[in-house]
Subunit: 363 residues, 2 copies
Amino acid sequence: MTNLDHAYAVILAGGKGERFWPLSTSRSPKQLLSLVSERTMLGMAVDRLEGLIPPERVIVLTSADLVEPTVASVPDLPAANIIGEPMGRDTAAAVALGCAIVKARDPEGVFCILTADHVIGDIEVFRRTLREGIDLAAGQDVLVTIGIQPTFPATGYGYIESGNAVEHAGETTFLQAKRFVEKPPRATAEQYLASGAFAWNSGMFIWSCTSVQAAFGKYRPQLSELIDTLAPSVDSPGFADALRAVFEPLEKISIDYALMENADNIVMARGTFAWDDVGSWPALANHFPADDEGNTSIGDVVPLDANNNLVFSNGRLTALIGVSDLVVVQAEGATLICPRDRAQDVKALVNELKARGSFDELL
Amino acid sequence: MTNLDHAYAVILAGGKGERFWPLSTSRSPKQLLSLVSERTMLGMAVDRLEGLIPPERVIVLTSADLVEPTVASVPDLPAANIIGEPMGRDTAAAVALGCAIVKARDPEGVFCILTADHVIGDIEVFRRTLREGIDLAAGQDVLVTIGIQPTFPATGYGYIESGNAVEHAGETTFLQAKRFVEKPPRATAEQYLASGAFAWNSGMFIWSCTSVQAAFGKYRPQLSELIDTLAPSVDSPGFADALRAVFEPLEKISIDYALMENADNIVMARGTFAWDDVGSWPALANHFPADDEGNTSIGDVVPLDANNNLVFSNGRLTALIGVSDLVVVQAEGATLICPRDRAQDVKALVNELKARGSFDELL
């Protein structure tokens, strides 16, 4: 057996993705949308593991009310591998839940925490990074985090500062992680980029059940206990009830805050593949070609003397005359129109629609 | 019998109204749209005649392919009064056609040529103007035209210059019409407005069959002959064929060009009622209230930090963030977005869509 025989993937797919309204809704959040290909974002996340981790060892965590559409979105996975959290308890609880499932199935398991709604390119480099990270995490008591080599001074991502190299056979660079920092202001982000010592926090991790449970034991004992309490009922009829019982009393804490900002055995794998968290409509446009006037059009769009617009026209014709720098999104029953630089306010709009109370079927 | 017993209305309802795309289409042109009330524009034009001209004497001329939806739009009129022109031959031919129908039914007939897609207020004043105009046209060999008292220096309308008063009992002012002028440049329009001697050419006329046929005889003999050729077959099974035979060889000429710019017996009735030809989406907005931010919204519209927009949202939600001075129109299958001051380019857009060939069902 190689280390890969013990490798699991736990994909966190519980996001609401309100920033992609009106396409994303409570029943159809970002990870279940086919934003950049015919596959859903989650389907693409599963596809990326092909040849590395077989479907029976790919686990998807989502919210209980999204289990059905999630199962439909990834028909290649065993339905039993789509787990619905009875209530959202943030990423630390999700990691503990994933650990309980993997540990129950394979006490020697090593699992990758992966995201369901990011766009990743250079798939072979991505797979190699995971494979070598799994190998490292299987052999040592370390928590591996994937840091993305930054390409611009992003203010929308957290950063990881790295230190000395960690020796490991293979092509991936592993470095000691010195600290995790929150989204920085612009000037700080520029210093980070210039220093070469900072990487973007991708939210992807690799660790053995043993190591991550040990870390929980040190910094969040409640989550270590959760793993032991829950593991015996995994794959049994009582699992849903057991999960509800352990989840309900938890406070919401992110894995960064619970473990990564505390642990001293963190190793950062330098991710040199293309990566984008696609956090907004304008970010999505980067994944499509633009015409000579700078218009990015998905679907039937006819621009007349219009430029630099971004139009997602689903099942309708969108005709533009003389407008610039707009985001236009057509969805079933609703149309969004906003300037590119106001796309971050879509969440505020969704809140406004919620407050009005008469548009629930569109949210 | 009073003159009103011989009064007919001929409503010209053949317009294509491309400027109201995407709501107006070839199957549903402007006059068949319910733009300012639940009634269609044509239905409102018929309603305005209530108490003045009974339904059996109201005739609607449209294009042959629009007869069916036009009949459906004005169920109060006898279906036989909706006449489809086999091909468009402009307004002079339509007036001659209307004259043939009226003359066949009542050789002493006096008829009003009315428009199907304008908004008219002060209905009592409008009716009084028609009634007194009918009275004048029944008693003298004159061609009555209704000139609208201008309220701003419009460059989008033709003008009528008026001269001496024509004596006639009643409250309407009748003046000799000295000349018809085409849409003027801004400076000229300002002079017209200041002079007080110019009125907008509304496209509405009142004349007896005798007088208008005599005028055709002088200036367009072919159209006078058309009346005599066609009248015997009116209301007979052979009418459609007869109409096609006389219409086909006609050249397209407007009534202004054929008669009004030539005749010397034209009297202008001063129309002091509210009148708007509603030539574009922004013009339509004037007939609806705006919110405190200047947004005019018809249907479900949620503006966030958006102002001075004009949104016709039919059966969909339109959400706006941070945009200003836009016209947004939602129709079955298509959405139009353009700045208010580019709304006149909708026709160019429709041409572009026609040229592309793949949007025919939306045109």
